[in-house]
């Protein structure tokens, strides 16, 4: 039998920039941050033990690699390295992200032929949307422990893709990974959220009930979650809470009966409710 790649687990993770800043400045043990970071420890241990061969990180660029000049709805990075973006205050002091061009190009080809019209990026810097989840789950190593395939989703210009479309893209990613003829164990991150609003008089909105139901739904009824409309996200979870559509790509890439093995939820991280959830496929890889 020809060995093929497989997705073994999914990680849902907020990507609040202030979390990265707290790590970069070494203030994670302060009373403000302590509880949040303690809750990340089990996830780091789990991931170190899992030692995946490659990670697909679904995130949104925040006016770093892409401006309003060109706005790709779904984009995949196929480079062998991704430099750290200057988002307006200098690049984060974290390692350059190594790519996985062979799998990334395979995904690009497979997804497009599977009717998901991806934009392909040969060169792009990556911002906190990608690096903060790496920092949260890997700590502060000299080099990131695995190569990364960035998958960007537009959530800056309305409308983002729907949750249902994102879920289907996740399913297509799973099919594409399973047709890559190399024995690779792949994890997929869905980042962003949870409830938060960064703009307007309503800034600071948090909805713990919505977030809790969303976390529960990831295993109880993920398809029902894909029917949440953009307006419902914005009304219930804040205008930037709509980032949660990206979690559906991760969820769609996992098996229907994937199991929750860890969750952590904390308010506040700056303006945001920070969520983390680990889901594992049950089949033996």
């Amino acid at each position: 039998m020809i060995p093929v790649a497989s997705i073994v687990a999914g990680i849902a993770c907020s990507h609040v920039p202030a979390i990265g800043v707290a790590m970069d400045r070494g203030v994670t043990a302060t009373p403000y941050w302590e509880t949040l970071f303690k809750g990340y420890e089990p996830a780091r241990q789990w991931l170190a033990k899992l030692a995946p061969d490659v990670a697909i990180i679904v995130y949104n660029d925040h006016a770093s690699a892409f401006s309003l000049q060109i706005i790709p709805t779904f984009l995949i990075g196929v480079a062998d390295r991704f430099p750290i973006a200057d988002e307006g205050f200098g690049p984060r002091p974290v390692p350059v992200v190594q790519g996985h061009p062979a799998l990334a190009w395979h995904l690009a080809e497979s997804l497009i032929l599977d009717e998901f019209d991806m934009t392909i990026a040969n060169e792009m810097p990556v911002d906190h949307g990608l690096t903060v989840p790496l920092s949260i789950t890997c700590g502060q190593p000299q080099q990131w422990p695995f190569p990364v395939i960035p998958l960007c989703v537009n959530v800056v210009q309305y409308p983002p893709p729907t949750g249902a479309r994102c879920f289907k893209l996740g399913q297509a990613i799973a099919r594409a990974v399973a047709s890559f003829e190399q024995d690779l164990r792949v994890v997929i991150y869905g980042t962003g959220g949870m409830s938060h609003q960064l703009q307007g008089e309503r800034a600071g909105l948090i909805n713990r009930e919505f977030d809790t139901a969303f976390l529960d739904g990831m295993t109880k009824d993920p398809l029902a979650l894909t029917r949440i409309t953009h307006t419902e996200y914005m009304r219930e979870a804040g205008s930037e809470g709509v980032e949660m559509v990206m979690w559906h790509i991760m969820r769609g890439a996992l098996d229907a009966d994937a199991a929750e093995i860890y969750r952590h939820y904390h308010v506040p991280a700056s303006n945001t409710a920070a969520g983390l959830m680990i889901l594992e496929n049950r089949r033996i890889s």
């Binding site: 920039p17 202030a18 925040h62 006016a63 770093s64 401006s67 309003l68 000049q69 973006a85 200057d86 988002e87 307006g88 205050f89 200098g90 800056v156 210009q157 309305y158 409308p159 409830s195 609003q197 960064l198 703009q199 307007g200 008089e201 309503r202 800034a203 600071g204 909105l205 948090i206 909805n207 713990r208 009930e209 919505f210 953009h230 307006t231 914005m234 009304r235 219930e236 205008s239 930037e240 308010v267 506040p268 700056s270 303006n271 409710a273």
Partner: protein, 135 residues
């Protein structure tokens, strides 16, 4: 495009849709230029002169020069872009969020520590929520 949009019933929220995209392009592209350290230096050196390079309306120029964060949103600013002006000033997202919502930095920080702004009463404009966003 079809009007009105159902999200326009959400109070204190400026969804960056097609209408705002047409209105705010130049303003947001100015903000984008601040990703380059040399441009940040030039902007801080002479803000008005730096802004001449971009086709901003008078009102957009005013909101930038006055750091009217809420006003920027009303003339097409996108928060992911306008925040770059704040970074240039050494401000944080929480600083700007407190100014947009009209409370002191301390009051805002306290609200977040207490669990954030509740969705209760803040879902629809006809509830007793924060201000109007039809700007």
């Amino acid at each position: 495009m079809t009007e009105p949009r159902d999200y326009e019933t959400i109070p204190g929220t400026y969804v960056y849709d097609a209408r705002r995209g047409r209105q705010g392009y130049a303003l947001n592209m100015f903000c984008m230029s601040l990703n380059v350290a040399e441009n940040r230096r030039k902007f801080k050196e002479n803000e008005a002169a730096y802004l001449e390079q971009f086709a901003l309306t008078e009102e957009q120029r005013r909101t930038v020069l006055k750091r009217d964060w809420l006003g920027m949103l009303k003339v097409g600013g996108n928060i992911y872009y306008t925040i770059k002006i704040a970074f240039c000033d050494g401000l944080t997202f929480q600083d700007v969020a407190s100014m947009m919502s009209g409370v002191s930095k301390e009051q805002y920080a306290q609200m977040m520590l207490a669990g954030g702004r509740s969705a209760e009463g803040n879902r629809y404009k006809d509830e007793a929520g924060p201000g109007d966003s039809r700007g």
